[in-house]
Amino acid sequence: MITSKFEFRSPKDVEEAVRLYREFQGEAVYLSGGTDLVPRMKLGLEKPKAVIDLKRIVPLTTVEDQGDWIRIGPLARIFDLKQNDLVGDYFPALEASLEATSCESLQMRGTIGGNLLQNSRCLFYNQSEFWRRSKGFCLKMGGESCNAVPGAKTCFANYCSDNAPALCTLSAEIELSGPDEVRRLNLEELYTNKADKPFDLQPGEILTAIFVPKKKSIGGYEKLRVRGAIDYPLLSAAFSFVDGTGKLAIGAVGPKPYVVEMKQPSHDAIGEAVEVVLKQVRPVGNTVLDPDYRKRMIPVLAGRLINKVMEGAK
């Protein structure tokens, strides 16, 4: 498969990158490791006029201890980040989710920023142009209705970032730099809750930093997948316990991580937290494994994870 023709630019700083974006009148995409973007371009899901490579912008690649915060450059590679001592010492949930992300060869290319901004996925969407034309276009491609749930007017694609749930449990914030402003928001606020367009991003905005409160935490990450590597999560659970409060995030069963706070992770509290998530999620048959099964595993994964984390702390 070959991509459609595009121009390739390598700006040296964020301003230049944003300027290039405007030059191409929005028909440009940013490139980090490319492990999400390039497969989508090959499938013809993305046909940009220009690809703006962010890898040459050095400040975006670094990890910095800022005292109250750890600033993670979005271009930091998954493989490097999982070996970073700050991550290991402060954010065990993130360390575990980085380790669980695809496989090592992809971790060496993929970045944390690209991981957060990876597009939502569906077996009926991540297909070649031939396939999609045969089937008829779905909502996410600009069609009338969903192909995974015939007739539905909602998109059910799954947001499959392994690291977003972990970062949510750590109360991470992000910095976005766009043509007009630089804004900082909670990671959770990034999500639209709409699977066909999962991110609340303004045109041209670049993710320029991820900030995680520098507080010691205990935590972990569990991932449901068919094989021991490469596979995207079919369901994931992240948990961090910081300053006497626990946060649980459930991923890969909808357009965003579902985050619930709990004071003491008692048996009942876990049950209640899981109930909150179960009320919001509606997995459908758009990935491998039965959707009811994926839903049924939410309490199992969450319960096991939280118990393991709290046991370990004793």
Binding site: D231, T287, R296
Partner: protein, 760 residues
């Protein structure tokens, strides 16, 4: 081993390994010929439709486009392995029957232009109702996909031996269960590709294939060209597993394009095309009824097996029979009725698979365990009791000349600590056993045999010329090793010329487990004849009786007086002097019943010999998540005698992955006629991290017919590994598992169903 060989039986690095691991081996897609064009294929977007019109004029006008072909350029000949199954035009004529079917081909100066040209071809379709599963397809009012197949039944294989109903009537215990397994993808690392080069009336072809002679014959028919003008040449093949056995639509399209353009043309399929538009594996449903005596002796078997055949026949009758045969070759049952239906649906084309028939084979083995449990027997005992022995006949009258099931069972059980492990299992743990026996070759008329030429060159090195084809399993290395053993010269002194239809002689190919047993035998015989000639000249020259001479390490040497020796090349040169250069031919035809036919007469000797095997898997099942792990796997395989021990072990290990672990993960998923996972991300081939610890055990039965006692190496494990795993899971869970693969959601469903009352 009880015999002394120099190179046979060693752990030799295969002759092809270095080139492959360093990336210097070239495959069809790597070929570059002067003036070569790039081909692309326009495919049907509909699962079933009439073609009303095809307009290629705009595509032809696009600069850079050199040729466009449609069915109008073909000759109206249809492909099918048998005369009665010729139903596949390879380029759609007036109807398309699956999404991805070849409709037109384009050859252009580059890939972009070829793709652009595809968009310019206008095809008018009239969609027809389609049917996607065999049970629906067999219904009265189902759309008929081919006029000639009533109820869409492509082939019906019926086997009947003994008094089946009476035997069931007298049985102490009868069980009937239905099992279903989703189809699989071959997932060869090399996507399909063809290079065709037509010049001066001759067509040269390269493509991943498992039998060049059979491929050339098929193409000569399809192209209406004399066979001597269609030449299939040798090329490395990146995996086969059954998928490269038959002529592929891409071969025809590429050939026609090259003939029309007058230039070499290369077609390389994408990963998606490879999955959706070349043959894949049958989805199978098997209903199995077994009757036994009180002591566990099987007295009757009845089968109804439905194979989802996709849109065309392909190997139809063979595919609808093989699972049954590899089962009857392992176990004794005097009364049997088999009804195999291969049914046409509007899904992609299907062929044979190395691990073909998992619903049937896993089903039989799991049911045997259920019966054993009801009788209070150990699963090993019931297998030993019913396993075939040397000298016995299978139900359809094939004699077993070596091996038998007992030794592989005993060896595997011993290595796996079967009895102690079974006694000490804790919650969620299970251990299971799977057995099978596999034919080495099957009747293919005069193409069942193989012939080899050998010539000795002036420095005492040899060239062997054989039709043996290597699709990645090491057949070339095997042929060289056999020649080296017989001729007494090292492997590096042997040049191999193989799998080239103009140069080499007929060979049954790399798909009926015949390469070592048949092809290897021909190589051995040719080299033995050459050796006889050499020793004849040597006897005169050395003035020593030929019977006391041998060749060792390039030297003619007396067996009784090692001081008497002479470099072999002197003898070879002497033969040249005398105008009688050393050249020999050897051939081997397996002793099979050539009257045997898959449908008309499914009785008689199926193959020259059979390989036996037993696998033992240990599993742990998480009852809350349904996830299964396989910590340990033992595979005992009677391959007669390994030509290359390491190569056989490699085949066994690959088989454990492709069948044993895959039965937890692999399935093709469909949305109507579209494959949902035509890739290697969502089609779950097990990874290194998913693999168990494997102990391959080679059992040597020293086959009386096989070259150095060899039979096939590897397929036996491929066809029993999944049974071992599902039997172990059944052992751990104690509930019937009827749906494969055993993904965690299916495991929990089975547990839920059992809670609802249906306990085994």
């Amino acid at each position: 081993m009880d015999r002394e060989y120099t190179i046979v039986g060693t752990r030799m690095t295969r002759t092809d390994s270095l080139a492959k691991v360093t990336g210097s081996a070239s495959f069809t897609a790597d070929l570059k010929l002067p003036r070569m064009l790039c081909a692309k294929v326009l495919r049907s977007p509909h699962p079933h439709a009439k073609i009303l019109n095809i307009d290629t004029s705009r595509a032809l006008r696009l600069p850079g486009v050199k040729a466009v072909v449609t069915a109008a350029d073909a000759h109206g000949v249809k492909w099918g392995v048998f005369k009665y199954t010729q139903d596949h035009p390879m380029i759609a004529v007036d109807r398309v029957r699956y999404v991805g079917e070849d409709v037109a081909g384009v050859a252009a100066a580059d890939e972009e232009t070829a793709l652009e040209a595809l968009d310019l071809i206008q095809v008018d379709y009239e969609p027809l109702p389609a049917v996607f599963n065999p049970e629906d397809a067999m219904k009265k009012d189902a759309p008929l996909i081919h006029e000639e197949y009533a109820n869409n039944i492509n082939v019906h294989v019926h086997i009947e031996v003994g008094e089946v109903d009476e035997a069931f009537g007298q049985a102490h215990l009868v069980r009937e269960d239905t099992f279903h397994a989703a189809g699989e993808a071959y997932s060869t690392l090399e996507p399909y590709a063809t290079v065709a080069s037509y010049a001066n009336g001759y067509l040269d072809l390269w493509m991943p294939n498992a039998a060049p002679h059979v491929r050339a014959k098929a193409l000569s028919n399809l192209l209406k060209m004399p066979l001597n003008k269609v030449r299939v040449r040798r090329i490395n093949v990146g995996g086969h597993f059954g998928s490269r056995s038959e002529v592929s639509p891409g071969d025809l399209v590429t050939s026609l394009l090259s003939m029309k353009a007058g230039c070499p043309v290369k077609l390389v399929l994408t990963r998606e095309e490879n999955a959706a538009c070349t043959r894949q594996v049958h989805d199978i449903q098997a209903t199995i009824k077994t009757g036994v005596k009180k002591d566990g002796t099987i007295t009757a078997k009845e089968f109804r097996v439905v194979y989802d055949g996709g849109a065309y026949s392909s190997t139809g009758p063979i595919a609808a029979s093989i699972p049954y045969y590899v089962y009857e070759e392992a176990y004794r049952f005097p009364n049997v009725r088999y009804n195999g239906y291969r049914v046409i649906t509007n899904k992609g084309i299907r062929g044979m698979y190395g691990a073909h028939g998992r619903a049937f084979l896993c089903g039989n083995e799991m049911q045997l365990d259920m019966i054993a449990r009801e009788l209070g027997m150990d699963p090993m005992e019931i297998r030993l009791k019913n396993g075939l022995k040397v000298g016995e006949e299978t139900a359809t009258k094939s004699v077993i000349i070596s091996g038998g099931l007992e030794e592989p069972i005993r060896r595997a059980a011993e290595q796996a600590n079967w009895t102690e492990k079974r006694a000490g299992l804790t919650e969620g743990e299970g251990i299971g056993m799977g057995c099978v026996a596999v034919m080495c070759g099957f009747p293919m008329g005069f193409r069942s045999g193989s012939a080899c030429y050998v010539k000795l060159n002036d420095d005492g090195q040899a060239t062997i010329v054989t039709g043996i084809c290597d699709t990645g399993m090491g057949n070339e290395s095997m042929a060289i090793q056999i020649a080296s053993e017989v001729l007494g010269i090292p492997v590096e002194d042997i040049s191999l010329v193989n799998a080239d239809t103009v140069v080499t002689n007929l060979d049954p190919g790399a798909y009926s487990q015949a390469a070592s047993f048949v092809g290897g035998n021909a190589v051995k015989r040719a080299c033995e004849d050459a050796k006889r000639q050499i020793l004849g000249f040597a006897a005169t020259k050395m003035n020593h009786p030929a019977e006391d001479l041998d060749i060792r390490d390039r030297t003619i040497i007396s067996k009784t007086d090692p001081s008497k020796s002479m470099p072999m090349r002197w003898i070879v040169r002497e033969a040249f002097f005398q105008g009688k250069p050393i050249a020999a031919t050897g051939a081997y035809m397996p002793k099979v019943d050539f009257q045997r036919e898959w449908i008309k007469k499914p009785y008689g000797q199926m193959a020259g010999t059979f390989s036996f095997g037993c696998s033992v898997a240990e599993v742990t099942v998480d009852k809350e998540t349904g996830q299964i792990r396989i910590p340990h796997f033992v595979a005992a395989h009677d391959c007669g005698n390994p030509i290359n021990t390491m190569a056989v072990e490699g085949q066994i290990e690959g088989s454990v992955q492709q069948a044993g672990v895959a039965v937890l993960t692999e399935e093709t998923r469909w949305t109507e006629g579209l494959l949902l996972n035509p890739d290697l991300l969502e089609y779950k081939v097990p990874l290194a991290c998913d693999m168990p610890e494997i102990e391959p055990l080679i059992v040597c039965s020293n086959d009386p017919e096989g070259p150095f006692g060899a039979k096939e190496g590897g397929l036996t494990t491929r066809m029993n590994a999944y049974s071992a795993v599902v039997c172990a899971a059944h052992n751990a869970l104690g509930v019937p598992l009827n749906e494969f693969p055993l993904t965690p959601d299916r495991v929990l469903k089975a547990l839920d169903a059992a809670k609802g009352g249906d306990k085994s």
